[in-house]
C-alpha cells in the first residue's frame, strides 16, 4: 500500500496541521488508508467526510469484484488501492476539481479587472493605514460590537502589539510571540487555542525565520503570514475596545456573519433586455428572466469572493438568494467589502458595454442614414429617368398624332376636292340637255336613248362615289375631332362647329380675366 506521508509536499508544520479523522489503530486496511489519505486533500471537514464515504464505497465494491476473480482479500485490497494511483496526486486532483482556477465568467475583461482590483485594491487595502474610509467602513465598523476582522491579511499592522522588538530566533514560537504581545498591550489578550488547534496551530508552532528583530506589531503580521495556508485559513485578530482576541479565520468568520442586501436590479435589467446579446450582455440568461440573468453575476461572484465559504459550492458559511432585484447575502463581515467591490466592478463593466453599445448604435444609425440617402438618390434618379422616358414617349405620341392629323387633313382636303369635282361634273351633266329631253313621253332616237342610259349609268356611278366619299369625309372629320380635341364627336358635330365653340369659350375666359384684373 502506498505510504501517503512520504510525499514531497510534507513538512513538519503541515504534518502537524493534518487534522483528519486519524485512527491509526484501526484494523481495517481500507479505513486505515482513508484515515491517512483524507487529510492530504486539505479540504473542509464536511467535504472530506463525503469524499471518504464515496471512496470507501468504491474500494469495497472493487474489492468484492476482485475477490470474485480469485484474489484473496489482502491482495484485492492492495490492488484496489493501487488503482487509485499515487495518493498525493489523487489528493491534488480532488483539490483541483473543487477549487478551479476560474472559469465560466462571462466577460474576460471583468475577470482581469476584478482579479487585479480585488487582489490589489481590496486584499491589500483592507487593513492598510490610511485606507480610504469607504473601503474600510465595511470591515472596521464603528459599533459597540467587536470590530470586524482586522487580521488575516499579512500586510496588517497591529498597533495594539506595540513596537517592542521581537526576535525570530530558532526557538521562536507563536506562544512566545503572544506572550510578548500580552506584556506589551494594555488590553486583555484572549487566545482561542482550541480553534487554532483545529487548523493545526499550537502554542509551540515554530515561527523561526531568517529575519532581523522587528516591532511586535510587524512580528505578528509576519507570523500570521507564515502560518497562513490556502486550505485551512490562518490566524485572525479581532480587536474591540475591551479586548483583543486571537482565533482562527474560520471561527471569526462564523462569529461575524452578516446579512446584507445588494440592489442589482440595474445589472439584471441590462441582461434581461431583449437586445441584451446584441449590446454585449451575452452571458447565461441574456434576454431572459431575472433569475437566469442573476446566475451570470452570482456565478463569478462566488468564484472570486470567498469561494470556499459558499453553500452552493460546498461551503457552510455564505449563502445568497435573489429576492426581486436584490441579492440577500449572508457572509462573514470581511467578505462584504469584497462583494461590494465586485458588484462595483460589474457596474463599471456594464457602463463600458452600454457606452460601447451606444457608440455602435450611433454608428449603425449613421450608416443607415447614409444608406437611406443613397437609396433616396437612387429613387430620384430612377424617377428622373422614368420621367424622361415618359416625356420622350409623349413627344413621340404627339408627333405621331400630328403626323396623323396632317395626313387626315390632307386626305380630307383631297376627298373634299373630289366631292366638289364630282358635284361640278354632275351639274354639267344635268344641265347639258333641257329638262324636256328627259321627259318620259319624248320620242328619242337610239343614240339619244344610249346617251340617256349612259348618263344614267354615269350618274349612278357618280352618286355612289359621292356617297362613299361623303362617308369617308365624315369618318376623317370624326377622327380629326377625336385627335385634335380628344372628344368623341356626336352626330352632327362638325370640325368647324367645335372650332367655333372653342373660340367662344376663349373669348369668355378673357372677358372674365379682364374684369377680375380691373
Amino acid at each position: 500500500m502506498t505510504n501517503p506521508t512520504s510525499t514531497s509536499t510534507g513538512t513538519t508544520t503541515k504534518a502537524k496541521r493534518s487534522k483528519g479523522d486519524i485512527k491509526p489503530s484501526t484494523q481495517d486496511p481500507i479505513q486505515r488508508w482513508l484515515d491517512i489519505f483524507m487529510p492530504m486533500t486539505g479540504l473542509p471537514k464536511a467535504r472530506q467526510a463525503d469524499i471518504r464515504a464515496e471512496l470507501e464505497d468504491h474500494l469495497r465494491a472493487r474489492v468484492d469484484d476482485l475477490m470474485i476473480t480469485g484474489l484473496s482479500e489482502p491482495e484485492a485490497v492492495q490492488k484496489a488501492v493501487n488503482e487509485l494511483g499515487e495518493t498525493a496526486h489523487l489528493a491534488r486532483q480532488f483539490r483541483t476539481a473543487l477549487k478551479p482556477k476560474g472559469r465560466t465568467l462571462m466577460h474576460a475583461a471583468l475577470i482581469a479587472i476584478a482579479g487585479s482590483a480585488l487582489t490589489l485594491g481590496i486584499f491589500s487595502a483592507a487593513n492598510q493605514p490610511g485606507t480610504p474610509p469607504a473601503r474600510t467602513a465595511a470591515i472596521v465598523g464603528a459599533t459597540a460590537t467587536p470590530s470586524p476582522l482586522s487580521g488575516a491579511s499579512s500586510d496588517a499592522r497591529y498597533a495594539f502589539a506595540g513596537t517592542a522588538p521581537f526576535e525570530f530566533s530558532e526557538t521562536a514560537t507563536l506562544g512566545s510571540l503572544f506572550d510578548a504581545i500580552r506584556e506589551a498591550t494594555d488590553r486583555p489578550l484572549v487566545i482561542h487555542w482550541n480553534h487554532l488547534e483545529d487548523i493545526g496551530i499550537q502554542e509551540d508552532t515554530s515561527i523561526a525565520m531568517d529575519a532581523d528583530p522587528v516591532p511586535l506589531r510587524d512580528a505578528l503580521a509576519l507570523a500570521i503570514r507564515k502560518t497562513e495556508t490556502r486550505d485551512f485559513g490562518g490566524i485572525a485578530v479581532l480587536e474591540s475596545p475591551g479586548m483583543i482576541e486571537i482565533s482562527s479565520t474560520e471561527e471569526v468568520d462564523r462569529r461575524t456573519v452578516e446579512v446584507r442586501t445588494y440592489d442589482i436590479a440595474d445589472l439584471l435589467r441590462h441582461r434581461t433586455r431583449p437586445d441584451a446579446e446584441e449590446i454585449g450582455f451575452d452571458g447565461y440568461g441574456a434576454g431572459g428572466s431575472f433569475s437566469d440573468a442573476a446566475v451570470s453575476i452570482t456565478g463569478p461572484l462566488m468564484e472570486m469572493v470567498a469561494r470556499e465559504t459558499w453553500a452552493d459550492l460546498g461551503g457552510d458559511l455564505s449563502t445568497l438568494n435573489l429576492v426581486g432585484g436584490s441579492l440577500l447575502i449572508k457572509s462573514p463581515a470581511r467578505y462584504h467589502a469584497q462583494i461590494e467591490a465586485f458588484l462595483e466592478l460589474v457596474r463599471r463593466e456594464d457602463a463600458r458595454i452600454m457606452e460601447s453599445a451606444d457608440e455602435r448604435l450611433e454608428e449603425t444609425r449613421r450608416l443607415q442614414a447614409e444608406r437611406d440617402e443613397r437609396r433616396r438618390q437612387a429613387h430620384l434618379e430612377q424617377a428622373r429617368l422614368m420621367e424622361e422616358q415618359s416625356r420622350q414617349m409623349r413627344e413621340e405620341a404627339e408627333r405621331r398624332k400630328m403626323d396623323e392629323i396632317a395626313h387626315l387633313e390632307a386626305e380630307l382636303e383631297r376627298v373634299t376636292a373630289e366631292l366638289a369635282e364630282l358635284n361640278a361634273s354632275q351639274q354639267v351633266s344635268m344641265f347639258s340637255r333641257p329638262a324636256s329631253f328627259y321627259s318620259p313621253n319624248s320620242e328619242r332616237t337610239e343614240e339619244e336613248i344610249r346617251e340617256i342610259e349612259e348618263n344614267a349609268r354615269e350618274a349612278f356611278i357618280r352618286g355612289s362615289r359621292v356617297s362613299d366619299l361623303t362617308v369617308i369625309r365624315e369618318s376623317i372629320r370624326d377622327q380629326l375631332i377625336l385627335l385634335k380635341y380628344g372628344v368623341q364627336p356626336s352626330e352632327g358635330t362638325t370640325l368647324e362647329a367645335i372650332q367655333q365653340q372653342l373660340k367662344e369659350q376663349g373669348d369668355r375666359l378673357r372677358s372674365i380675366s379682364n374684369r377680375v384684373n380691373n
Partner: protein
C-alpha cells in the same frame, strides 16, 4: 473489470470526452461512481478506462458546477450476497443524477463531437470512413 492499459491505437480519453461519457451514462439512468466506471469500461470493451483517480474528482467537479445532483443511500448488507455491490458493511453510497443544466451541457458536447467527427471524416477516404463506422456498429 480490469483497469488495463488501452489499446495503443485508441486515443487517450481527454477530460472533455471523459465528461461527455459520464454525462451520457447518467443521462441513461442515475448511477454511482463505481458503476459508472464499470459501465464505461464495459461499453468500450476496455478501450476507455476512466479509473477512480480521474472519475471521482470529475464527479466532484460536475457536482460543483451543478451539472449533476447527488443523493446518499444507506447500503445495507444483502442477505444472499447475489449482488456483489450490495455486499456492504453498512456504508453510504453516493448516487448521481444528471441535472437540467447537465443535460444541456451533454447536448453541447454531443453537437461538438459530431461536428468534429464530420469535419474529420471529410478528410478521410470514403472506404476508410465507412469501414471504421461499420466495425464500431458491429461490436456495439
Amino acid at each position: 473489470m480490469t483497469y488495463s492499459a488501452p489499446h495503443p491505437a485508441t486515443p487517450k480519453l481527454s477530460p472533455t470526452h471523459a465528461e461527455l461519457l459520464v454525462l451520457a451514462t447518467l443521462a441513461e439512468a442515475p448511477s454511482y461512481g463505481y458503476a459508472i466506471s464499470r459501465g464505461i469500461a464495459s461499453k468500450s470493451e476496455g478501450d476507455f478506462a476512466l479509473g477512480p483517480a480521474k472519475l471521482y474528482p470529475l464527479l466532484a467537479k460536475l457536482e460543483k458546477q451543478g451539472l449533476v445532483t447527488t443523493s446518499w443511500e444507506e447500503v445495507k448488507a444483502a442477505n444472499n450476497g447475489t449482488d456483489n455491490d450490495d455486499e456492504s458493511k453498512g456504508r453510504r453510497r453516493k448516487w448521481y443524477t444528471i441535472s437540467t443544466k447537465g443535460a444541456k451541457r451533454l447536448d453541447q458536447h454531443i453537437q461538438a463531437h459530431r461536428r468534429f467527427t464530420a469535419l474529420v471524416d471529410a478528410f478521410l477516404p470514403v472506404s476508410n470512413a465507412n469501414s471504421n463506422n461499420s466495425s464500431r456498429g458491429a461490436t456495439a
